[in-house]
Symmetry: C2
Subunit: 342 residues, 2 copies
């Protein structure tokens, strides 16, 4: 039955991810780094960024659009800036290799930025935001993607789904972390509606003629819409600029042109900004972070949800009981291990 689920311990997920990625040519520390984000996604209940992404990563490996073995190069172009040249590899290893330099720079200067350049990006942004939060830093991350989204007032794809992620450390609780697309929906959500044969909600997309549509395929062939009208469109433009030209990397339109129909994941840059609360506050940091807790308490008292809380609840459960993967998806992934021409 298609509703069957396969229960896996997290170390089984990790082993499966490594086997699949290695089978399809990924090499060296890239295997660890990519597997780690896939395990983290599955563990936190983000189905679209869990083992499902193995299909996406393998597709990109097969396309020849990613260098499976390149070593990232980390440089410091200015006291507050770190650059990680991913050299055409997946983003994860470049981020991991640059992290300590970014943390050092933020602690020394109060604020610092990391540009990850020439990377293939298929993952969520919250893993790197959480890595910085674990060091007690406030973090912001953003990246363009492929040009799939029409600007407000326009009718043709120009922006990526252009996610923005933010993290804030909490001394005695899971961190405040959000990570959302500046498009009305994630592209994966529209894909899921298409697979299920369901219409998409109004406001998610327009067809190739620029007319509103609730047909998932028509929206994928036309354009997705930005979240929140003109304001969302302005934010999406900002993402194109600060994680594109500002760091010497591609816009979403340039990324999809580079792809040239190969169907690989987006290629370009990611900007990560880290701020050390001790920079402005010194020894008073703990007291001021406590006032942030008052804000979170007031949010909770109104019944408003805290972003990131559900992921962390799922995490506890997954560590204790493992994760449940749809049997059909599990079969598709196992089949990747059997392919002859990998």
């Amino acid at each position: 039955m298609e509703n069957d689920m396969v229960t896996m311990a997290l170390d089984e997920v990790d082993l499966l991810a490594r086997r699949v990625l290695t089978r399809h040519g990924l090499r060296g520390d890239h295997v660890d780094a990519v597997a780690r984000t896939i395990v983290a996604g599955e563990r936190d209940g983000c189905a679209s960024h869990g083992v499902y992404r193995l299909l996406v990563a393998v597709n990109t490996l097969k396309s020849g659009k990613v260098d499976p073995a390149v070593e990232p190069v980390i440089t410091r172009p200015a006291p507050g800036l770190v650059r990680a040249d991913a050299g055409g590899g997946f983003a994860q290893l470049a981020i991991e290799r640059a992290l300590s330099a970014l943390v050092d720079s933020a602690r020394t200067n109060g604020i610092a930025a990391l540009a990850v350049n020439r990377c293939i990006h298929f993952a969520a942004l919250w893993p790197e935001v959480e890595m910085l939060v674990e060091h007690g830093l406030v973090a912001l991350a953003t990246t363009p993607s492929h040009a799939w989204v029409a600007p407000a007032g326009g009718s043709r794809p120009l922006f990526g789904t252009n996610p923005i992620a933010f993290g804030w450390p909490r001394p005695d609780a899971s961190p405040f972390v959000f990570d959302f697309a500046t498009s009305a929906a994630a592209r994966g959500e529209i894909e899921l509606h298409r697979r299920a044969g369901n219409p998409i909600p109004a406001g998610w997309g327009i067809d190739a003629d620029g007319h509103p549509t609730t047909d998932a395929q028509a929206a994928l062939d036309g354009a997705m819409l930005t979240w929140g009208g003109y304001k969302g469109s302005a934010l999406s433009t900002m993402v194109e600029l600060i994680a594109g030209p500002l760091i010497g990397d591609l816009t979403s339109a340039e990324s999809i042109a580079w792809d040239a129909g190969a169907g690989a994941s987006p290629y370009g840059g990611e900007l990560i900004v880290a701020i050390d609360p001790a920079g402005f506050l010194g020894a008073a940091a703990a007291g001021h972070l406590a006032r942030a807790e008052t804000l979170f308490d007031a949010l909770a008292a109104q019944g408003a949800r805290l972003p990131g809380a559900r992921r962390h609840a799922n995490r506890k459960l997954s560590v204790a009981e493992g994760v449940r993967v749809p049997a059909a998806l599990h079969r598709d992934i196992m089949a990747l291990l059997e392919e002859e021409d990998a």
Copy 2:
């Protein structure tokens, strides 16, 4: 007739602003700094941030909640950080006094942040963003306000209108600049509906019982809503955190508690981040900024509007022909000059 307009040259607006502010006790360089933002707002066609704000500023001066003569203190707590302690004065002079240190720090470190602390804030954020853009920097500014806005999933005021402003330098065009509230509407827009006796659109506010309302007064007495649901609510939370506790300053809830019904403008901090394109790009900066122009051209080709363009068009017109102020508003402002107890 109430629709009558008074035409004023920009230097007349400036003189009027200075006279009104001085008449109500503002002193020293504060008069220049505050008048400048009011003239800029009127000049750019932002009616709610033009001479109308003289009423707001005078109201705050009368409340005793602002120090009309305090000298801002500028310090450098870390190589990438600048602090401007406004000491309970209006924000404008503190920002002006700190600007060159922020520009220097961004050029030296690649990225830098300015915390404006203990300031009374009633102005738009685009003036400071544009000041940085004129130095060739990319800039982001944000500030909490008073707790007027309910979080998504909540029903009571907790957030401010929490604007976010961003600016990007363009070599041969007016800069790309946006500045918008993370609430569904600006509070001033709801005030304007109330004055006109018009209902507000659904989605702008809820009444004191937490029910959706289209009654402007009921929304002002209840709570405004965030723009864009949960995502807007997450961004608004981020603003509270990074321009509140992170810089040792008040949240919107703390600001309105401090006000204690006086009806003064919000009190607290503002965070401004500046990034130097030459930091990551060096001599290649011009070439990469040119790729941003390709993005703007693509936006324009679709008929999408560029934020900031309308303001700059108004600016040209105002410089040439002056501005037109509603006669009733002009009378209200002139009356401020006649008050006996100022």
